[in-house]
Amino acid sequence: MKGKLATFFSNKQLQVILYSLFIIVTSAALYFSQKSVVSFLLLLSSLLILHFMNLKNVTKWIVALGLLFILIPFASSGGPAFQSYMEVATMVGIYISMALGLNIVVGMAGLLDLGFVAFFAVGAYSYSIFATSQASNFMPFGNFPLGGESFWGFLIVGGIMAAIAGVLIGVPVLRVKGDYLAIVTLGFGEIIRIIFNNGDRPINITNGAMGIASVTPPEIFGMTLSFPNQFYFVTLLILMFTIFAVLRMEHSKLGRSWKAVRENEIAAQAMGIPLVKTKLLAFALGASFSGIMGVVFAAKQAFIDPTSFTLMESFTILVMVVLGGMGSVPGVILGAAVVTILNLQVLTELTNWLNQLSLSGVLTIPDALSPAKMQKFIFGALLVAFALYRPKGLIPAKNKIFDVKKLKDHRPDHLNNDTKENSIPIDKVQV
């Protein structure tokens, strides 16, 4: 029976047919229903199924892009809940991008950073200060707020600012190892939040705890972007860039050095990897993705204040990375999506449902136990359960396996003349 099932599922045509059927049914359900969170989630999960399908990578990407850019926005546009779906999808995109950034620092380079949201804050503030009249408080020249077109430039500026913050934090921290690093980064995260929170004196830069309101929405070709469905596409484009960059980085020289540093710092140094440079680059690059999304977040919310950047946010992003699998790009994407949807959709829906139940008198749940308040408990339980029983996460990271024979065939001629003692078998070099 099991064998039959296996052959049944390994049949490529059948897979494709079943998959298309699944997509058609879920998107139709989403389009024609008034508000159906279940079908929206099922449609999103089709991307996960796609990941496990037995298809070529290129085909998978094309299908995924088609789903993300065309089918999902179209299918969810049917009902009145369109904007709320798009809002959730945008937040998922923002968090995936941040989790991928943290994944570079924690998963690949093995540096536990507990203050990651600070970079998000840096990105968000760098746009919102200049896109409101806030900047005129301290800038001697220029005309503020800047127009909506500046958003696109600020994507880069925000990324660079966050990267600079990353390096600034990285420099003192690099002398510190392991557990200490976690505490110091946590401290830095808090410091940055406190500074933003009190940045209204002596010069009003961040407007303190009041936050910055009415941030100029981005503009493109004279069109103002202010609805979630417009931000959805912006986020998606940046996310695609992020995923592409992270995937390219993972197997590059830099990515391999990160992994070497993670596995054994001293051995890595002995192999000629510059520790300081490698770690700083991990901090800077990880931070920059977060900074870019910070800019998007500020523009989308049009209002930011320091309460959006608390420790809890840093931990949420860490939960995403641990849940998905440290160092695994598809895993982290899944983890971020699951946690964000859990936060924004599942918990609130459950709370509403329970409230209805208690209103109709079926059963009474004390207010203290309402799922929306249980977020911390759920995160804690997830962290402990995954660390104990599945430390590699939902989709464990895979090391690229090199084909020894192929590598030998591609060796330049002068190397092939080496005696056998001198050539190191590739499979033994793999860590």
């Binding site: 510190v176 190892k177 200490y180 110091v184 406190i194 931990f315 911390k376 408990f377 804690g380 962290l383």
Partner: protein, 328 residues
């Protein structure tokens, strides 16, 4: 400016010593666990917080009984301290069993992550229970030892102002010092204390010398958490109002104190805690004065973290610790 600083000095000393005593005892829990397992028990701050809640619950429970008003406050405090310390000690042992023991050979990132998870769970469970019984998770305990005492510092020299404090200040300071002295005696003079130091030095060799390593680790967690819980009770008595989120930042500060004194060193933790408490109070009283109003008292957390970073960069072994070389 100097005059103003001097005027407030007696009050700063009083407040700083109170806070420092709390930091010092909580720091002991961090330092003991770190000395033995080289692990930061992130959840220790939450054990402290649970202690504060359990203690307050006992106070409310006992004082709700009619005959209890006949008991002197001091004896009541001792009963509650012992009860709370045993409960939080058991919480600590359970925590080690569940979250740290299975991971003793895992990469070092993993136990840190479970520790964060456990501290979230503790926070939320305490919030839930408090909210269920009290309707609100911010709990105010019964007021004990609340007679005001004025320290006539102005009688010594006219540059000082008088300092005012509650009787509970003396209680907190006294109990904390008794706890520290007792711990110091336990670790340095008793058989189990010797075993603890042996395990901290070299776990494998200690196990060859017929020391039950697991038991020693459990005892360490018991003592550390019991101290943390007892400090929680003292904190609740001193400051009155508690909420489930006091443990996290206070735990971090206590950790900073442990690092400042030299992590793994028990006397270092005491010194570091007292120092950090004094410095923090000094900073919160005088920071805006010293910087001409640019930085206010709200930067006192930044100040604490800055101390941590400076210590880690310039003297990572702390004030009383010994430098260690990293093993390959």
């Amino acid at each position: 400016m100097l005059q103003e600083i001097l005027q407030s000095l007696p009050q700063v000393l009083v407040d700083g010593l109170t806070l420092g005593a709390v930091y010092a005892v909580v720091a002991l829990g961090y330092t003991m666990v770190y000395g033995i397992l080289q692990l930061i028990n992130f959840a220790h701050g939450e054990v402290f917080m649970s202690g504060a809640f359990i203690g307050t619950a006992f106070f409310i429970l006992i004082m709700g009984m009619g005959w209890a008003s006949a008991i002197p406050q001091f004896i009541l405090l001792i009963i509650v301290l012992i009860l709370t310390a045993s409960i939080t000690g058991l919480v600590g042992v359970g925590l080690e069993r569940v979250a740290y023991r299975p991971l003793r050979n895992a990469p070092r990132l993993i136990p840190l992550i479970t520790a964060i998870g456990i501290s979230f769970i503790l926070q939320d469970v305490v919030r839930f229970i408090a909210e269920l019984f009290n309707g609100n998770y911010i709990v105010t305990g019964p007021s004990l030892f609340s007679e005001q005492i004025t320290l006539k510092a102005s009688a010594i020299s006219s540059i000082f102002y008088d300092a005012r404090f509650k009787t509970s200040f003396l209680i907190v300071l006294g109990v904390a010092i008794i706890l520290m002295v007792a711990l110091d005696y336990f670790v340095n003079k008793t058989k189990w204390g010797t075993a603890m130091r042996a395990v901290a030095l070299d776990r494998e060799t200690a196990s060859l010398m017929s020391i039950n390593v697991n038991k020693v680790i459990s005892i360490t967690f018991f003592i550390g958490s019991a101290l943390g819980g007892a400090t929680g009770v003292l904190f609740a008595v001193q400051y009155g109002t508690i909420d489930p989120y006091i443990g996290f930042i206070l735990g971090l500060k206590a950790f900073i104190a442990a690092v400042l004194g030299g992590i793994g060193n028990i006397r270092g933790a005491m010194v570091g805690g007292m120092l950090l408490g004094l410095m923090e109070m000094f900073a919160s009283a005088n920071l805006s004065l010293l910087t001409g109003g640019v930085f206010g008292a709200e930067y006192k957390d930044v100040f604490a973290f800055a101390i941590l970073i400076l210590v880690l960069i310039f003297k990572p072994e702390g004030l009383l610790g010994k430098p260690t070389a990293e093993k390959v």
